[in-house]
């Protein structure tokens, strides 16, 4: 018995300490925020994670809440733009508990789903209001400068924030965005019809454009070929006249005796002219042929 005593004491002591710690301490996880109630009244809020002291059960109680950002999605609902178009819009938001001291008593047991229901009303009011302040061209426009998509999101967010702050829910909306944009079902039918006719217009445009481009290419090619040929002809003419100019320098040679030059030119011209198969009809008195004739026959012509 004497031998066992110290060990039992130690174990007993440890157990006592553990039990005491469980009674007097609580942990707040990094994702949590805690509210300590004293006799049911919230008295203390703990936002930093760690281990903390409290009075045991009958005096104090600890409630922890998820302080992370929660996901909220609205319904896909119809709103009217300032110029009377109806537009379906669905937004999402990230919200979190901002002040658990306010949040906890507001919603029974700090229920997140209760809070979301309240938030839904806020968001709906906000985007209905904001959509009504903008014409359709702020949502959808081919002119990028006119688009106010980001601005609209920001406006809705600001309005939700204001309302949330005013309502005293103890929640904060961290961000908000548009998840879907749509048109009422009856409008989609009209859109389809318009799209179809736009396709037809586009087809005609493409066809016309193709033909136009093709004919422009052909015309350019024809002009280019004509230009090439004309230039070549001009070049050829220039070459020939250059040749004539070069030939002209030989004229001074010929000038030494123009008579001979002309004679020689005639000779070679004659020879060239009569080079091919020709039929010659000659008077026998022509220079070498007169030899064929008898001496007396010449005068016999009388």
């Amino acid at each position: 018995m004497k031998k066992r005593n110290p060990l039992a004491m130690v174990i007993g002591g440890i157990l006592l300490v553990v039990f005491g710690l469980l009674l007097f301490m609580y942990q707040v996880r990094v994702t949590e925020v805690a509210v300590v109630t004293t006799f049911g009244k919230p008295t203390r809020q703990v936002t930093e994670p760690g281990a903390y002291f409290k009075w045991p059960w009958p005096f104090q109680k600890v409630h922890t809440f998820d302080k992370r950002i929660h996901n909220f999605e609205s319904r896909f609902e119809q709103g009217f733009t300032s110029d009377g178009y109806s537009l379906l819009i669905m937004v999402y938001a990230g919200w979190r508990i901002e002040d658990s001291m306010v949040f906890f008593p507001r919603f029974r047991g700090g229920s997140l789903s209760e809070a979301e229901k309240s938030l839904e009303g806020l968001v709906r009011n906000a985007y209905n209001g904001v959509v009504g302040n903008h014409p359709l061209s702020d949502f959808i426009s081919t002119d990028t400068n006119q688009l106010k998509y980001v601005q609209i999101e920001q406006e809705i967010l600001e309005r939700v924030r204001e309302d949330a702050a005013a309502s005293g829910y103890g929640v904060e909306v961290a961000f908000l965005g548009i998840k879907r944009l749509g048109l009422p079902e009856s409008v989609t039918e009209a859109v389809f019809k318009r799209m179809e006719s736009e396709r037809q217009v586009l087809i005609d445009e493409i066809k016309y454009d193709g033909e136009q481009q093709a004919s422009a290419i052909r015309t350019a090619a024809n002009l280019e070929s004509a230009r090439l040929v004309t230039e070549a002809q001009a070049e050829a003419t220039r070459l020939i006249s250059q040749g004539q100019a070069e030939a002209a320098k030989y004229f001074e040679v010929f000038e030494r005796n123009p008579k001979l030059a002309n004679f020689l030119l005639k000779l070679s011209g004659l020879e060239a002219f009569l080079k091919d198969k020709t039929t010659l009809v000659l008077d026998p008195n022509t220079s070498p042929l007169e030899l064929l004739l008898n001496e007396p026959s010449t005068p016999s012509g009388d």
């Binding site: 990094v30 994670p49 992370r68 950002i69 996901n71 999605e73 896909f76 999402y92 990230g94 959808i140 426009s141 081919t142 998509y149 961290a174 961000f175 965005g177 548009i178 998840k179 749509g182 048109l183 079902e185 009856s186 989609t188 859109v191 799209m195 396709r199 087809i203 493409i206 066809k207 454009d209 481009q213 093709a214 052909r218 280019e224 090439l228 070549a232 050829a236 003419t237 070459l239 040749g243 030939a247 030989y250 040679v253 030494r256 005796n257 008579k259 001979l260 020689l264 000779l267 020879e271 009569l274 198969k277 039929t279 010659l280 000659l282 070498p288 042929l289 064929l292 012509g301 009388d302």
Partner: protein, 374 residues
């Protein structure tokens, strides 16, 4: 077990009176108690070991570890997360090991812009036929800048970037948050694009726009993730599939027409170029011939000039005769007609045909001529 041998054999006490029987019963009870104490002790030791051993945690290769001590993160600075491998943490109420899947590619898909129909229907091609309108409750779509309707869906692959604390601890449902951001990026990109740009002309730009918007939102929301890849599928409304296909076809036709024109153009121009080259080289050779001819004439002139000057009369006569003889030799037919003085000239008839036959000149026969002469 070790206590078993010292106990006396059970037959002995049973043979004696009740006293020994009591004694043996008490002893058996004491034995049983003692052995069960041993078992309890062993169990306790094992439990303590298990309790202590529970502090040994293994971080898997795709994860990083983070210890929460009393709920507070121990490793908060970037790069301080626990590498994969075994790690020691204090047992349960004190430490909690959180595993953050950094490096693991996660994916979310968006289908707010996609038409109704299950994946099975789509795979088997048995989608319900498209109606004349879109019911917003069932069918998803996005609106483009030019107020057209298109369908778009996509898959986003992303990774948690270091240190990953915000992704892990700041969001109750981080995956859905990422999905919402992705949905928003698709709607945002669509209203900034015309239908044809989003579908065909600038599909890459459309994807870039989605990605840009995503990066922006990730930064804004503090999601702490990195976009790896964005895959998109953009299609025209099913009801208008045929008209859209017709536009594509028209575009193909257009490029074919233009290509035809281009090939005509290159053919024509290269022909013209060849022709031009021929004309130029013809000009060159003409020029060359002309110059050479005149040069040759000039040389000949210079050679002949001395002999001409010696006796012009003789020179002319000689050369004329020489040429005439050569011409006569070369001529195909030669006809001699004596000149008649004082009489009317001969009448000579030539029959000219397209391909002149030189054989049949039709002069009156020479004998007749002679007869006339007489």
């Amino acid at each position: 077990m070790a206590d078993a041998p010292p106990t006396p054999p059970p037959s002995d006490p049973s043979a004696r009176g009740p006293d020994p029987l009591m004694d043996s019963g008490a002893r058996a009870l004491a034995d049983a108690l003692r052995s069960s104490f041993v078992i309890v002790r062993v169990i306790m030791v094992v439990l303590v070991l298990i309790f202590l051993g529970s502090g040994l945690q293994v971080v898997e290769p795709q994860d990083r570890g983070l210890v929460l001590r009393f709920g507070r993160p121990v490793q908060t600075s970037p790069g301080a997360l626990l590498e994969p491998g075994p790690h020691w943490a204090l047992p349960y109420p004190i430490d909690e090991m959180v595993r953050i899947p950094i490096g693991q590619v996660q994916s979310v898909s968006s289908s707010v812009g996609w038409y109704a129909g299950t994946a099975a229907q789509e795979a088997s091609g048995q989608l319900p036929p498209p109606g004349p309108s879109l019911d917003p409750a069932r069918e998803g779509y996005v609106l483009t800048a030019d107020e057209n309707i298109i369908h778009v869906r996509g898959t986003l692959r992303y990774r948690i970037s270091e240190p990953g604390l915000s992704y892990q601890f700041d969001f109750a449902d981080a995956t859905n948050m990422v999905r919402n951001a992705f949905d928003n990026a698709l709607v945002y990109a669509a209203v900034h694009y015309r239908v044809d740009d989003a579908l065909t002309r600038d599909a890459v730009g459309f994807r870039e726009q989605v990605r840009m918007r995503l990066d922006q939102l990730i930064g804004l929301y503090g999601l702490g993730i990195m976009v790896d890849q964005v895959e998109l599928q953009v299609v025209p409304p099913r009801r208008l599939a045929a008209p859209f296909a017709a536009v594509l076809e028209a575009e193909i036709n257009r490029s074919r027409t233009i290509n035809d024109a281009r090939s005509y153009a290159s053919r024509t121009v290269s022909q013209a170029r060849a022709e031009a080259e021929a004309i130029k080289s013809d000009g060159t050779s003409k020029r060359k011939r002309l110059v050479e001819f005149v040069a040759a004439e000039a040389r000949r002139f210079e050679q002949l000039l001395p002999s001409y000057e010696r006796n012009p009369e003789l020179f002319v006569q000689q050369h004329k005769t020489e040429v005439l003889l050569r011409v006569l030799t070369n001529a195909a037919e030669r006809i001699l007609l004596p000149a008649r003085r004082g009489q009317k000239p001969y009448e000579l008839r030539l029959q000219l045909s397209r391909a002149p036959k030189i054989r049949n000149p039709v002069p009156p026969p020479p004998p007749d001529d002679h007869g006339d002469e007489h």
